[in-house]
Structures are given as structure tokens and as C-alpha cells.
């Protein structure tokens, strides 16, 4: 069904575009001079701030020194990349970034869908609205605040250890043992973004035809079977497109929380590619190595986006491009 509709939408869109096919002529260019000049000004801006840094990628292939500049620094070819992949630390930060990225993605996705579906089952409008408003409050707090709050809650005399002790357990030092860090990061993301991510699913659920639920009720379906047979299948396209967008972002999920909550004791699990870039590129001023690591991240991200896009295409789902 979705394939058929998307094909007809495409046809309609094409027809619409044809109507507006405008011949390039001097008169038309003159008529559009405002549009052309405005977009040209913004093009210059975009070129400087988004495209010029890509030229800086040359640094990764030379031994860049600020004194000699981009054009006269010594060319070293792939030496910096060779160093990266022989560096055990770099391999470890790749592992950490991927592991935390995937963990975050799965956890936030699952929680957002679960929360949206369950909130939809709350029948009192006022309570529903109230819970929803509360739910996206954390999204507006900065990571500084969120990590600070989390640090308090998990500290030696924080509320979590109070609860553990109340049940007779011994207090846990959450930030000095490596095994707790990844779940803590995933929890931080879930806490901050569940309500916000649920907005889009709730909007999708609202647009489901109520007749479907009524018909199911007449057939004796309970709430759970309605969720599994009506709600979930109806929001499947939304889930797929969001999954697609987020897969490309997996490597981008690794900076603020890890930088703020990580410490020397648990560095081996908390450092990510972005932190590696910061350490080498800025603190150690090895611009070339920092750039090389950044390029690696960009390239992997783009590959992930393309793969996700192709998989969606094959599954007959909506695509990004």
C-alpha cells in the first residue's frame, strides 16, 4: 500500500513541477534578480562556513604546522591514518563510540515508542496533557545541568545509593567502575529525550482512524491487542523514517555526556572519537591527527546513512534522499 501511494505522490509531484517549469531567459533572470542575488549572498556565507572547512581536510595528509600553512607544510600521505589505526587508544574510542551510540539509539527509541503508546492509553485528557508537558521538560535542560543532576543522584550519598542501602545493599561507586558507564549514558539520554522523541509518535497516533479501534472493540479486542494490531502497525512508517535519520547520527551521540561525566579512572570506556579529536587536535595541537580522526568519523557517518537509506529502499519504506 505504501509503495503504491508513494508512487502516486511522486507522479503528482512531478506533474506539479512540470507546471512550473520556467524557461531560462534574460527576462526571467531579470524578474528573479532578487531571488538570485539573495541566494548568492547566502551561498557565499554557506561556502565559507560549511565548505571551506572541508578544504582543511588536506591537513590530515600533511604534517601541518600553523607557521608554514596549508600550502607549504610537508606532505605525509596516509601516515596520520596509519598512526590512527595502529593506536590502541583510537581502536578503543571507536568501540566506545559505536557501543554507546547503538545502546543510546536502542534505549531511546524503545522508550519513546513505549511511552507514546502508553500515554495514548491514558484516557483523562487533563492528566494526559499534564504528563506530556512534564515529559519534555528535560529536553530543554542543557547537558551540563542533566549531567550535574545525574552526578548528584548517583553520588556516594545520592538518592540511588540511599535506596540501595534502604534495601540492605552496599553503596555503589557508580563513577569509578567501568561497567556502569555505558548504562549511565544510555539512561541519561532516555531521561532527557523520551518525552521529546515521543511527540512525533503521539502525533502519528492521533491521525489513526478511530473507526479501526471501534471495529476492534466490537470484535472483543482488549487494549493490548489493539496496541499490537492497530497502533503499532499504523505508526510503523514513522518509526522507520526516524530510525533512518538516527542511524546516521550514531557516531554523533558521543561527546557531551562522556566529556562531562568521564574521569581518568573510567577513561577506557568513556572516551569517544570526539574526545579523542579534542585531546589530540586541540590540547596536543596535533592538527593533522585531529583532522584525520575527524575525517574518519565523517566518512563512517556518511556510509551509515547511505546503508540505512538503501535498506529502507529495499524494504519499501520511505527514504531520506
Amino acid at each position: 500500500m505504501s509503495q503504491e501511494t508513494s508512487a502516486s505522490v511522486k507522479r503528482a509531484r512531478k506533474k506539479k513541477n512540470d507546471e512550473y517549469k520556467v524557461k531560462t531567459s534574460m527576462a526571467e533572470v531579470k524578474r528573479q534578480s532578487f531571488l538570485i542575488v539573495t541566494s548568492a549572498i547566502f551561498l557565499v556565507y554557506g561556502f565559507i562556513f560549511y565548505y571551506v572547512p572541508l578544504g582543511g581536510w588536506i591537513m590530515a595528509f600533511e604534517n601541518y604546522k600553523p607557521k608554514t600553512g596549508l600550502l607549504h607544510s610537508k606532505w605525509v600521505g596516509l601516515a596520520k591514518f596509519k598512526f590512527l589505526f595502529e593506536d590502541a587508544t583510537f581502536i578503543r574510542v571507536i568501540r566506545n563510540t559505536l557501543a554507546m551510540g547503538v545502546l543510546n539509539l536502542v534505549a531511546t527509541f524503545f522508550m519513546a515508542i513505549l511511552f507514546a503508546i502508553l500515554l495514548n492509553e491514558v484516557r483523562t485528557t487533563l492528566i494526559k496533557k499534564g504528563i506530556q508537558t512534564i515529559s519534555y521538560m528535560p529536553h530543554f535542560l542543557s547537558w551540563i545541568i542533566v549531567t550535574g543532576i545525574l552526578h548528584d543522584a548517583l553520588s556516594a550519598n545520592g538518592v540511588v545509593n540511599e535506596i540501595i542501602q534502604a534495601f540492605g545493599g552496599t553503596p555503589i561507586m557508580f563513577f569509578s567502575e567501568t561497567k556502569y558507564f555505558w548504562p549511565i549514558v544510555a539512561f541519561a539520554n532516555v531521561w532527557k529525550e523520551t518525552g521529546w522523541n515521543a511527540i512525533i509518535y503521539l502525533a502519528a497516533i492521533t491521525s489513526i482512524d478511530p473507526c479501526l479501534y471501534e471495529a476492534a472493540s466490537i470484535d472483543g479486542a482488549g487494549r493490548l491487542s489493539k496496541i499490537f494490531h492497530i497502533t503499532l502497525p499504523s505508526i510503523r512508517p514513522t518509526i522507520m523514517i526516524l530510525l533512518l535519520i538516527n542511524v546516521g547520527n550514531v557516531l554523533n551521540a558521543g561527546f557531551e555526556v562522556q566529556y562531562l561525566l568521564g574521569n581518568d579512572v573510567i577513561k577506557s570506556v568513556s572516551d569517544t572519537i570526539d574526545i579523542y579529536v579534542l585531546n589530540w587536535g586541540i590540547s596536543q595541537s596535533d592538527f593533522s591527527l585531529g583532522t584525520a580522526a575527524g575525517i574518519f568519523k565523517s566518512v563512517v557517518s556518511i556510509i551509515l546513512i547511505v546503508i540505512a537509506n538503501n535498506m529502507a529502499k529495499r524494504a519499501g519504506e520511505e527514504r531520506l534522499f
Binding site: 482488549g222 570526539d274 586541540i282
Partner: protein, 300 residues
């Protein structure tokens, strides 16, 4: 038999409703508790707070933490800079993104496909930390206020959200205005913009929240310049000092110097000050970002 099936469904529904209620209650408690707890600690005596056990209400009430925070020169500067970057940054972003969105949403525009592609690419490829830093250095944007508002001014995502909204406006409006002799800027300003206020509000809100919450740019580009510090960056320094020195060493220090505040309570006070504007405002603005998200979700 049909009846008993119905009855069974109802019984399970009751279980479901109860479990759902428990889930929602837990969700609300987990979301709100840490925030309320921070407020409680921020009003509590520092030395007393070390004992722990403060939950929803301060045990030994004091305003000293707030006095300490507001007495710091850096915090005053940071507040001014943060407000300035939020206001100026949002205004600049709104003006530029809206104008660009207008241009690429014109159906007759000769280069609309190329210009759109140019901006879409920027969403997926970026130069990375080091080349960007060097660029800003060369443009003399580092050690200046403008690094907060100029570089991120146009974002392809916000622009595309506006474009999608503008594409939904009937062409007849533009055409009739053009017949009356209106130029493109007049059409943008007098016809399209008044109709786009909801999406303008959405994008402005996104940018404002981003500006208010940023700290990394202050640390990276303006580390040496205290006059351009921001609230979040100051908060970050307080957080790091709490984490690195650990509770006890600090408490000994404050006992020795006779003050009754500790890094933990001071940081709580700074946190409350920083999040207060956002927590007060967002419930009233929620309908705007909900529209924006749903437009952004169904992008072409």
C-alpha cells in the same frame, strides 16, 4: 461465549490500566524528582547538606548559596552574554533562515534545486573540529562574541522546516500581489511572513534554546576571555570542581574559612538560576515546537 470473551477483555483492561498508571507515576517521579531535589539543595545550608538525606524540601533553609552565586562577577557577565547571544542569535537566525526559505520555496525560482542541494549537503558533511577552529581563527571570530551567533546562523534543518511550511501557502496569494506590482521582498515581508508566524516561532524557539544551553563554544573559542563567558560554561566549571575535588575535601575547606556554602550547594543554586527561565517559559510555548517537529518529521 461472546459475552465471556468480552468480560475477560475487560478484566485484562483493568490490569492494564492499573499497570499503566504505575508506569506513568514512576515516569513523572523520575522526571521531576531530580529537579525538585536540586531546588531543595540550593536552598539548604552547605555544611548540613553534606549529611545527605535532603529530598523535596530544604532542611536548614538559607539564601547564602544564591548570594554567593550572584555575588560572583563572572556569573553577572555570563548572564549578560547569555541573554545577548540568545536574543541576537535568535533574531539573526530567524531573519536569514526565513529569507532563504522564501527564496528556495518559490516555485518559479530558476536555481531552486541547486540551492536546496547546496544546503542539504551541509546537513550531512562537516569539516570537523580542527578545520573549523582554524577557520574561525583566520576569520578573527575566536576571542569574540560573534563566534556565538555568526557561524551557526543558517542551519539547513531550520531552513527546510520553514520552506516546507511556505510551500503549503497557496500560490494565488503571491500571484495576485505580483499583479499589483509587489516585488519579491514586499511579498516576503507583507504576504508570506505574516502567514508564517507559527513556524517562525518554532524555529526561533529551537535557536533560542540552543543558544541558552551552549557551553562548548565558550570553552573552545573564548576560554581566555572572561568577558565572553556564558552561564552554561560557568556552570560547567562549577560541575567539574565538584567532581574533581569530591565532596569531603571541599567541605573541610569551607569549614576552615567559616563560610557555610559548599561547591555542591553553590552549583545547585547556579543550576536553578540557569534553568529557571526555560522551565517557566516552555509550558506556554509548547504548541509551537510541536508544530515544528511534526513539519520537520514529514520532510521531503
Amino acid at each position: 461465549m461472546g459475552k465471556s470473551k468480552l468480560k475477560r477483555a475487560k478484566g485484562w483492561d483493568l490490569v492494564f490500566v492499573i499497570l499503566n498508571g504505575i508506569f506513568m507515576l514512576a515516569f513523572v517521579v523520575i522526571t521531576l524528582y531530580p529537579v525538585i531535589n536540586t531546588v531543595a539543595i540550593s536552598f539548604n545550608d552547605g555544611i548540613d547538606a553534606v549529611r545527605g538525606g535532603i529530598h523535596l524540601w530544604p532542611r536548614e533553609f538559607t539564601l547564602k548559596n544564591y548570594v554567593t552565586v550572584l555575588g560572583k562577577q563572572n556569573i553577572k557577565t555570563a548572564a549578560i552574554v547569555t541573554v545577548a547571544r540568545t536574543v541576537i542569535g535568535s533574531a539573526l537566525s530567524l531573519a536569514t533562515n526565513a529569507l532563504l526559505a522564501y527564496v528556495v520555496s518559490r516555485k518559479r525560482f530558476l536555481f531552486k534545486a541547486q540551492v536546496s542541494l547546496f544546503w542539504v549537503i551541509t546537513m550531512y558533511v562537516n569539516g570537523g573540529l580542527v578545520p573549523v577552529l582554524l577557520l574561525y581563527k583566520n576569520l578573527h571570530l575566536t576571542n569574540s562574541f560573534w563566534v556565538y551567533v555568526i557561524p551557526g546562523m543558517i542551519s539547513a534543518f531550520n531552513m527546510l522546516v520553514m520552506r516546507t511550511y511556505m510551500q503549503g501557502i497557496p500560490d494565488s496569494l503571491e500571484e495576485s500581489a505580483a499583479l499589483d506590482g509587489a516585488g519579491h521582498f514586499t511579498i516576503f515581508w507583507k504576504i508570506i511572513s505574516p502567514l508564517c508566524l507559527p513556524v517562525y516561532a518554532t524555529v526561533t524557539l529551537f535557536v533560542a534554546v540552543y543558544q541558552w544551553n551552549s557551553w562548548f563554544d565558550a570553552m573552545l573559542y573564548n576560554r581566555m576571555k572572561d568577558e565572553y563567558t556564558t552561564l552554561q560554561y560557568e556552570l560547567m566549571k562549577l560541575l567539574t570542581s565538584v567532581m574533581q575535588q569530591g565532596g569531603n575535601a571541599n567541605n573541610m575547606k569551607s569549614v576552615a574559612s567559616g563560610s557555610r556554602v559548599t561547591p555542591v550547594t553553590v552549583r545547585s543554586a547556579a543550576t536553578v538560576i540557569t534553568m529557571l527561565p526555560i522551565i517557566c517559559l516552555y509550558p506556554f510555548l509548547q504548541r509551537y515546537f510541536v508544530t515544528g517537529l511534526t513539519i520537520g518529521g514529514v520532510k521531503e
